[in-house]
Each structure stands twice: as structure tokens, then as C-alpha cells.
């Protein structure tokens, strides 16, 4: 399957923004589409609100929005079972929401309040949830790939049947430790799925200006790790490929690479003038490939939902996000004593 998928995608359509959905994308039933819609919309609205709050000066520092990429994490999350771990980089709000972490705690971390998931210590890039098996939120590009490999090692060591979903970007894919990790993961047959979110840019550097091999699904070839290129804007394609990958890893066959072809609509972070791409390119992706719009259309056309029913979902989602924003705006700042806590076990 993997090999076939790779062959089918032999010529990488990196330079062609009009990536076609794989025609035989497996269908979702109504419940799946509804769940996908709701989850993706939550991330979209959360991120839109984050952007607004950043503009109002309520959020400071670095803040990377996930808008456009929602189908990747939501689709992958559908393939997991309880116990599976998730780890990612700094563009992490979507991953946390998809893992079921509370919007309030995420938003309050963005505003640096005591009710934030890291009590204001971490900010946008650094949040965790032991309860939800979310291992962060890491600001150093590529570092999480080794960590995810180690988590997978622990899974195998404990024979717990869990798989670690390890997310990173097209830019991160050029860090040396990624390949050190690939080698170990395959050598030790670790249950890890490497999900490369190829949104075509690493800050202002497009993939073809930084990568000799732009087919990221092939990045594990020399280690014998199977890989696939996936239309990351179509949640059904993400889900189908994700199932193959997770099943491969869980069954003891070792790591699997998924290149998710996706796109970020907003700038790299909030301070990005985005001069490295045309407005036209962004508009075309939004209009022709939006992951949420695709599901919305199916809900209306195939599942015959009414506009009002969809609006009801939207207002529920907005309620959650507004509540989170409200909390994050009024929650007090951390107590001054927090400056010295959680550095080592004992305070010093």
C-alpha cells in the first residue's frame, strides 16, 4: 500500500498549488463528517480569536496559528486509541485542542495567566498535558522528533501497545537529529508515526529553497521506513493514510512516515509580513482546498444538513472559544513566587 501510494505520487506537486484530492479518498459517514467539522471548526475559531487577541495586545511574544492545517491533526486524532501519545513543535494549539485539552487552559497560557496550562511559564509554544498524553509544545525546531522517538521506545519497552504521533514541519525535516531518530526508530522497530506537516514554507523559506528532496515521504527510504504523501487538506485522506501508518507502527513493524501536504493561511507567526508568497497563492488554497469547507459542503450536499444546523454547530464552537477568551483575559497573572518553581523538584 505504502509503496503503491509513493509510486502514484512520483512527481511531487510542490510547485503546483492546485493539488487535487486523491479521487478515491475513502468516504466518511455522516457522524464522521459531523465530528470532523466540529473539531476543525473549533481549532479555526480558536486560532482566529488568538489572532484577534494578539492584535489587541492581550497575547504577546510568539504565536503561530494553525489555520489551514486543521484536517491534519483532526484526521490523525481519529486514528488513535486511548494511550497513544502526541508530540509536536510550536505550532501546537490545534494539536492540543484535538487531544481534548481545554480551550480555556490553552488560551490562558497564550495570555500568560496562572490558569494557563503551563501557569504562564511556557507561552504559546510550550504546553503539556499528562492526562491527555500530550508531550508538548516545543520551541526548538526538530527537537520533538527525538523525544517522540524516545516515547515510542518507552511504549515498546512497556509493551503497552501505544503509538506516538510525532509531528514536525517541512523545515524541521532538515534537522540532523530527525535522521538520527529515523535510524534508531527503524533499528529498534519503534511504534512511532512521523507526521511531516508540509505547508510549503519554513518561515519565509519555501521548500524548494531548503530541501534537496522535496518528497518528504521518501525521507526515510535509506532506513527502509515506508512513507506516503497525503492530501492533508482532505480529512478523509488523512484518516485513511493515518490508519495504515498507525496500524503499521502498532503491529510492531516500526516507524512510518506521512507527508501531509497542507498549507498555512496566516503568516509564520504574528509578525510575518509574508512577502515570500503571493496573495493569489493563499486565496487559491483557501478557495479551492479549504479543509473545513470540503466537509461543510458534504454536510450540506450529501448529508442534507441545513444552514441553520451548521450555524448551530458554529455558535456552540464560538461559545467555547469566547468563554476561553474571557477566562484568559480576566484570569490573574502568575503569583510572583512562581518565578522560582518547577525548575528542579526542590526550590532553590
Amino acid at each position: 500500500m505504502a509503496v503503491a501510494a509513493r509510486k502514484a505520487n512520483k512527481s511531487t506537486p510542490i510547485k503546483n498549488p492546485a493539488r487535487k484530492a486523491v479521487p478515491n479518498s475513502p468516504q466518511f459517514d455522516k457522524d464522521q463528517d459531523l465530528a470532523a467539522y466540529r473539531e476543525m471548526l473549533l481549532i479555526r475559531r480558536f486560532e482566529e480569536k488568538s489572532g484577534q487577541m494578539y492584535g489587541m495586545g492581550l497575547i504577546g511574544g510568539f504565536c503561530h496559528l494553525y489555520i489551514g492545517q486543521e484536517a491534519v491533526v483532526v484526521g490523525m486524532q481519529l486514528t488513535t486509541q486511548p494511550g497513544d501519545e502526541v508530540i509536536t513543535g510550536y505550532r501546537d494549539h490545534g494539536h492540543m485542542l484535538a487531544c481534548g485539552m481545554e480551550a480555556k487552559g490553552v488560551m490562558a497560557e497564550l495570555t500568560g495567566r496562572r490558569g494557563g496550562l503551563s501557569k504562564g511559564k511556557g507561552g504559546s509554544m510550550h504546553m503539556f498535558s499528562k492526562e491527555k498524553n500530550f508531550y508538548g509544545g516545543h520551541g526548538i525546531v526538530g527537537a520533538q522528533v527525538s523525544l517522540g522517538t524516545g516515547i515510542a521506545f518507552a511504549n515498546r519497552y512497556r509493551q503497552n501497545g501505544n503509538v506516538c504521533l510525532t509531528y514536525f514541519g517541512d523545515g524541521a525535516a532538515n534537522q540532523g537529529q530527525v535522521y538520527e531518530s529515523f535510524n534508531m526508530a527503524q533499528l529498534w522497530k519503534l511504534p512511532v508515526v512521523y507526521i511531516i506537516e508540509n505547508n510549503r514554507y519554513a518561515m519565509g523559506t519555501s521548500v524548494n529553497r531548503a530541501s534537496a528532496q522535496t518528497d518528504f515521504s521518501k525521507r526515510g527510504v535509506s532506513f527502509g521506513i515506508p512513507g506516503e504523501q497525503v492530501d492533508g487538506m482532505d480529512i478523509r485522506a488523512v484518516y485513511a493514510a493515518g490508519q495504515r501508518a498507525v496500524e503499521h507502527a502498532r503491529s510492531g513493524k516500526g516507524p512510518y512516515i506521512l507527508e501531509m501536504q497542507t498549507y498555512r493561511y496566516r503568516g509564520h507567526s504574528m509578525s510575518d509580513p509574508a512577502k515570500y508568497r503571493t496573495k493569489d497563492e493563499v486565496t487559491r488554497m483557501r478557495e479551492e482546498h479549504d479543509p473545513i469547507e470540503q466537509v461543510r459542503r458534504r454536510l450540506l450536499e450529501s448529508w442534507k444538513l441545513s444552514e441553520d444546523e451548521l450555524k448551530a454547530i458554529d455558535s456552540k464552537v464560538r461559545e467555547i472559544v469566547n468563554e476561553a477568551a474571557e477566562f484568559a483575559t480576566h484570569d490573574p497573572e502568575p503569583d510572583p513566587s512562581e518565578l522560582y518553581t518547577d525548575i528542579l523538584l526542590e526550590a532553590h
Partner: protein, 337 residues
């Protein structure tokens, strides 16, 4: 004289050297096409071509490692690590290769390399975008470590660094890029265009590495500072009314011990200020050197004001940052004895 921001001055320094010497190549993440995230290399690719100013993949180890090889051959790479906090993957190449090549090859091969790194906090960058790692470099034999505090010095020191026959770590306090920040984060910052140190001479000039500058002459107490802390110390002196002599070290290795010694012998008191964490910070080294050289002239214990021994916080940035109030307290304490 034209006034420039610190970024413009740094760009000018690279421009001058690229013009004069085709051994000089400039590269790093987003450095070519995009002109650098802080705009330090803007226009250099257009002017000198893609073979001399270019983008790299996100690979700090690769950037520095290849630069060491280029330098060994005889090129003069001036590379950018986008934030000093991303330096750690490259640390192996900096310490084990760049710093050791001359020694290891009995001087047959050298490493005329400059690694530029935006450094320090005050920009709400949190733990992975605010660190001041200078002591990790000053601890390594075979490296020079420089930190300018204004546009004029930045250009002259960068030119000296590029011309230097050995590897130089060039730390740029990013909070100073637009103006002299004194730690009063709730007040607007004066832009460099309104500050005399924003005057940057055209063309080529070098400021020798290892020469400190006295930013404020005084008789009561010597303050040793570098980077952003120079302005914090100035504010503290003004606010406490203490006649401090503020020395901007500019270069940590080599260090201008002569200027330091002369000042401390005169004032009999010494306060050391840095933004980096206290324990094993460069202040410890300075304190030891001052004590060794000036013990019999000291009238008060040497004190250090530094970042707390914590990771750089996100929400509590200004509780961490050694601002003018903390420096002022140290000045008063030094004067009490």
C-alpha cells in the same frame, strides 16, 4: 554622520566586508531571499548574488559545520544563527571544531569564522527566544566573544570580527536593535536616530576586539556591563544619583582588563551587571579577575546583578529582567560600605 539602527549598522558592516573581500560569504536560515528575520542581510543577496549570500535549511549544526570547513580552506564565512537560543545543535561544531582547529593542526589550519547571534530578552520571547549564552563561549579556549551595545560599535566590531584570523562569536542584543533600551519597558524607547551612538561612519572602520569603552565617567563605583545592561546601568546611575563609572566591555574575550583595573583602583567599588543567569555567568569570572587585580583597592564586596537562576520566563519577563531598580539597589549597597 548618517544615523542607523543597529540592524542597519550590522548590515553595513557585512556589506563593506563583502565588497572588499570575496572570501566573505554570508548565510543562514532565511538570510538570503528573505533578508533575515531581523532584516540584517536585506539586500545582500541582490547585491552579491546567491553564491555569496544564501539561505540554508534549518540545520544549525550544518550551518556552523560547513562554515568551519569553508574557513579552514580560507573563506571568511559570516553566518547567522537566527536566535542564540537555537545555537545548541551547533555547539559541538563551535567547541570541538571551530575553537580547536588552529591548535589541533599546529596552526596549519585556522578558522576565520564569525557566528552572529541575536541574543537576550526583553522582547517577550520566553525560554527559547531570550537567552544570553555568552558564558558558554567565554568558557571555551579558542573562541573570541563579542557583544556590541550600539550601532557604531556593532559595525566596527563586526568588521574586526570578520577580519579576525580566529572564530568570533558575535552576540547582538536584539532588544537594542531599534534603540537603547534601559529596562523601563513601560516607556517608549528612543530610536537610534535620536541617539549619538546611532551615528555610523560610512565605509570601512574596525574597532579592535578587547578594547572596552567608558560610557559614563564617574568616581564612586565602577559598573561592568555589556549589551543592553549598559543602558540599564546608565538609568540606574541617573535614578540613584550615584556617580558611577560605567564600562561597556564590548568584547568579553579578549577582555580589556587594563581599563577595568584602572577604574576599580580609582573607585574602590565594583558592580557587575549581566542579563544572563547568575550562577557560572561571566560575572563570576569578572569578579574573580577584579578581586585578583584590585583586592587592596576594594572598599566594598564586589556585587553582581544578573538574571535569576531560572529559565527565561514567558509571563514574568520583567520579574526576571535585571532592570534599573535592581541595579540601583546594588549601587546603593556598594556605596553603603
Amino acid at each position: 554622520m548618517p544615523r542607523k539602527t543597529m540592524i542597519e549598522a550590522i548590515r553595513d558592516g557585512m556589506d563593506v566586508m563583502m565588497e572588499r573581500d570575496d572570501n566573505v560569504v554570508v548565510f543562514g536560515e532565511d538570510v538570503g531571499f528573505f533578508g533575515g528575520v531581523f532584516r540584517a542581510t536585506q539586500g545582500l543577496q541582490a547585491k552579491y548574488g546567491k553564491s555569496r549570500c544564501f539561505d540554508t535549511p534549518i540545520s544549525e549544526l550544518g550551518i556552523v559545520g560547513t562554515a568551519v570547513g569553508m574557513a579552514a580552506y580560507g573563506l571568511r564565512p559570516c553566518v547567522e544563527i537566527q536566535f542564540a537560543d537555537y545555537m545548541y545543535p551547533a555547539y559541538d561544531q563551535i567547541v570541538s571544531e571551530a575553537a580547536r582547529l588552529r591548535y589541533r593542526s599546529n596552526g596549519q589550519f585556522t578558522c576565520p569564522l564569525v557566528v552572529r547571534m541575536p541574543t537576550g530578552g526583553g522582547i517577550f520571547g520566553g525560554q527559547t527566544h531570550s537567552q544570553s549564552p555568552e558564558a558558554l563561549f567565554t568558557h571555551v579556549a579558542g573562541l573570541k566573544t563579542v557583544m556590541p551595545s550600539n550601532p557604531s560599535d556593532a559595525k566596527g566590531l563586526l568588521i574586526a570580527a570578520i577580519e579576525d584570523p580566529d572564530p568570533v562569536i558575535f552576540l547582538e542584543p536584539k532588544r537594542l536593535y531599534n534603540g537603547p533600551f534601559d529596562g523601563h519597558h513601560d516607556r517608549p524607547v528612543t530610536p537610534w536616530s535620536k541617539h549619538e551612538l546611532g551615528e555610523v561612519a560610512d565605509g570601512h572602520y574596525a574597532i579592535p576586539l578587547g578594547k572596552a569603552a567608558i560610557r559614563r565617567a564617574g568616581t564612586a563605583v565602577t559598573v561592568l556591563a555589556y549589551g543592553t545592561m549598559v543602558y540599564v546601568a546608565e538609568a540606574a546611575a541617573a535614578e540613584t544619583g550615584i556617580d558611577a563609572e560605567i564600562i561597556d566591555l564590548r568584547s568579553l574575550v579578549p577582555l580589556d582588563l587594563e581599563t577595568i583595573e584602572a577604574s576599580v583602583r580609582k573607585t574602590g567599588r565594583c558592580v557587575i551587571v549581566h542579563e544572563a543567569t547568575l550562577t557560572s555567568g561571566f560575572g563570576g569570572e569578572l569578579s574573580a579577575l577584579v578581586q585578583e587585580a584590585c583586592f587592596y583597592h576594594l572598599e566594598a564586596p564586589i556585587t553582581r546583578v544578573a538574571g535569576w537562576d531560572t529559565p527565561y520566563p514567558h509571563a514574568q519577563e520583567w520579574d526576571y529582567f535585571p532592570g534599573p531598580a535592581r541595579v540601583g539597589e546594588a549601587l546603593l549597597r556598594a556605596m553603603e560600605q
